[in-house]
C-alpha cells in the first residue's frame, strides 16, 4: 500500500519536458539500463544463486547453474 502511494506521489509531480530539455535524460548514466551487458551478467549470477528472479522484462534462456 505504501509503495502504491509513493508511486502516485512521484507520478503526481510530472512536468512537461520540452524536446530541447531532453539532454539530461539522454545521458548514459540516466538510462534505466546503463550497461546492458553487465546487467545480463548480474541477472544471471543472482538468479542462479538466489531464489528470486524477474520483475522487469522477460528472462533469457535458463542454465543449469548450480
Amino acid at each position: 500500500m505504501r509503495l502504491l502511494f509513493l508511486v502516485l506521489v512521484l507520478l503526481g509531480g510530472c512536468e512537461t519536458v520540452q524536446p530541447w530539455e531532453r539532454g539530461t535524460l539522454a545521458r548514459p548514466e540516466m538510462q534505466l539500463d546503463s550497461d546492458p551487458l553487465e546487467t545480463t551478467l548480474m541477472e544471471q549470477v543472482y538468479e542462479s544463486k538466489e531464489a528470486a528472479s524477474g520483475g522487469n522484462g522477460a528472462a533469457g534462456a535458463g542454465c543449469g547453474c548450480n
Binding site: 512521484l10 509531480g13 539530461t24 535524460l25 551478467l41 528470486a52 522477460a58 534462456a61 542454465c63
Partner: protein, 381 residues
C-alpha cells in the same frame, strides 16, 4: 512546479519547425565485450562433513552486437561462453553440534556453457516490436527460449508502455546419472508475461514500474542433490520500481531500484539496488553501488535432508531456498572516449542469515560469499 514562460514556449514551438533543428541521431552500431571472473569463497572446513570445501570459480566472456538494418530495423546478437570449475553442495545433514553441515562434491573438472541469442526489432514512429530466440548449452543442460515484446510511446514521448512474453523449454541430462542414482533425463518449461510503464517525471528524473508473472512446470528439483524433491509446478511474480535522478549541481545520477518477489513455494524477497553515478570531468565516471537482498525460506525447506519423509513429499536443503539475506558492495570505473568506453568493476557479495527478513532456524552452511570482477569494452561505429 515551475511554469515555463508562455513566451519561451511559443518561441520554442515555432523554432522547432526550422529545418536546422530537425536533426536526427546518426544510426550507430555497437559492439560490447566483457570478461568476468567470479570466485566463491571457500566454505569453512568445520561446516563440511565430506567433500571439497572449495566452491565455484567461473570465467565468463560475453560478446554483443547491436546494429541498425535499413531505417526501421535493428539486429542484436548476443553470445556468452563460460567455463566453471569447483565443488557444489550435494546435501546437508546435522552434525555433531546439532547444526547442519554440508556434504560437498569433489572438485569438478572444468565445464563450459555456451549461449547464443538473436533478436530483431522493428521501429515505427511511436512503437517498437521485438522477436528473439536464444539457446544455451552445456554438457548436462540445454535450454531454448523465445521472446516477443512491444514498446509503445505516448504522443508526448514522456511515457512508454512495454509488454513482453517469453517461453522457455529446458532439457536436463545430469552427468553420472546411473552412478549416483540421479534422474537420467528430465524437462522443464517456463512461460512468463511482463509489463512495464516508464514515465519521465521532469527533465532530471524518470521512474519505471514493472510487473512480471511466470509459471514453471516439469522437473524443477536439483538433480545433483542427494535428496531434493520440489513440486512440479511453480508460480512466481515480481513487482519493481526503478528511479533515476540527475543532480545538476553534483554532475551525478542516482539509481534506486526496488523489487518485491513472491511465489507459491512460500518464498518472498526484497531487493534494493542503489548506485551513484559520479561524473569526473568529461571522460571519467565512478559508480559506487550497494545491493541489499533478503528472502524468506520455502515452505518445504528443511535445514538438513530428512530421509524419514515420504519420497514424493517436497523437501530441499538447498541454501537457495532458505531464509537469509545478502549484502553486495561494489565499485565501477568508466572511461569514455568518443567511440570507445572501457569499464572495470569489482563487487563483493556476502550472505548472512541475520540479514534475512524471515530467517531460517539455522544459518545455512552453504550461504555464499563471492567476488565478481568485470572488465567491459564498448565500441560504437
Amino acid at each position: 512546479m515551475k511554469h515555463k514562460s508562455s513566451t519561451v514556449a511559443a518561441l520554442t514551438g515555432a523554432a522547432m519547425s526550422l529545418p536546422a533543428f530537425a536533426a536526427t541521431q546518426p544510426a550507430e552500431s555497437t559492439i560490447s565485450v566483457s570478461l568476468s571472473q567470479y570466485h566463491e569463497a571457500d566454505i569453512p572446513s568445520d561446516k563440511v562433513v565430506v567433500g571439497s570445501n572449495e566452491r565455484y570459480d567461473i570465467e565468463v566472456g560475453k560478446f554483443k552486437l547491436v546494429t541498425p538494418i535499413g531505417a526501421d530495423w535493428s539486429l542484436t546478437v548476443d553470445t556468452t561462453r563460460e567455463t566453471m570449475s569447483g565443488a557444489s553442495p550435494w546435501g546437508t545433514l546435522y552434525g555433531t553440534t546439532g547444526e547442519p553441515n554440508l556434504i560437498m562434491s569433489g572438485a569438478t573438472i572444468s565445464e563450459s556453457r555456451t549461449s547464443l541469442a538473436i533478436s530483431s526489432t522493428r521501429y515505427t514512429d511511436k512503437a517498437s516490436y521485438t522477436l528473439g530466440v536464444s539457446k544455451s548449452e552445456e554438457n548436462d543442460y540445454k535450454a531454448t527460449s523465445y521472446q516477443v515484446s512491444g514498446e509503445w510511446d505516448r504522443e508526448d514521448k514522456l511515457s512508454t508502455f512495454a509488454l513482453a512474453f517469453s517461453y522457455s523449454s529446458d532439457e536436463l541430462s545430469p552427468t553420472d546419472a546411473v552412478l549416483y542414482g540421479r534422474v537420467p533425463e528430465a524437462n522443464q518449461r517456463s512461460r512468463s508475461i511482463s509489463g512495464s510503464w516508464t514515465q519521465v517525471l521532469n527533465k532530471n528524473a524518470v521512474l519505471q514500474s514493472g510487473i512480471s508473472l511466470t509459471k514453471k512446470d516439469g522437473y524443477l528439483s536439483d538433480p545433483y542433490k542427494l535428496l531434493d524433491v520440489r513440486p512440479d509446478e511453480k508460480t512466481q511474480w515480481a513487482v519493481s520500481l526503478r528511479y533515476r535522478h540527475f543532480y545538476d549541481n553534483r554532475n551525478a545520477a542516482l539509481h534506486l531500484d526496488y523489487r518485491y518477489y513472491d511465489d507459491d513455494w512460500g518464498i518472498d524477497s526484497h531487493t534494493i539496488d542503489l548506485s551513484w553515478h559520479q561524473n569526473l570531468g568529461v571522460r571519467f565516471q565512478l559508480v559506487p553501488r550497494i545491493r541489499i537482498y533478503s528472502q524468506a525460506e520455502a515452505s518445504f525447506f528443511e535445514a538438513a535432508d530428512d530421509y524419514s519423509l515420504p519420497r514424493d513429499q517436497p523437501q530441499s536443503s538447498d541454501y537457495r531456498l532458505s531464509g537469509y539475506g545478502a549484502l553486495s558492495v561494489g565499485l565501477k570505473a568508466i572511461y569514455k572516449l568518443p567511440a570507445w568506453t572501457v569499464s572495470l568493476s569489482v563487487d563483493q557479495y556476502r550472505s548472512d542469515e541475520r540479514f534475512g527478513h524471515n530467517k531460517s532456524q539455522y544459518e545455512h552452511p552453504a550461504l555464499l560469499d563471492f567476488t565478481l570482477t568485470n572488465l567491459g569494452l564498448e565500441y560504437r561505429f
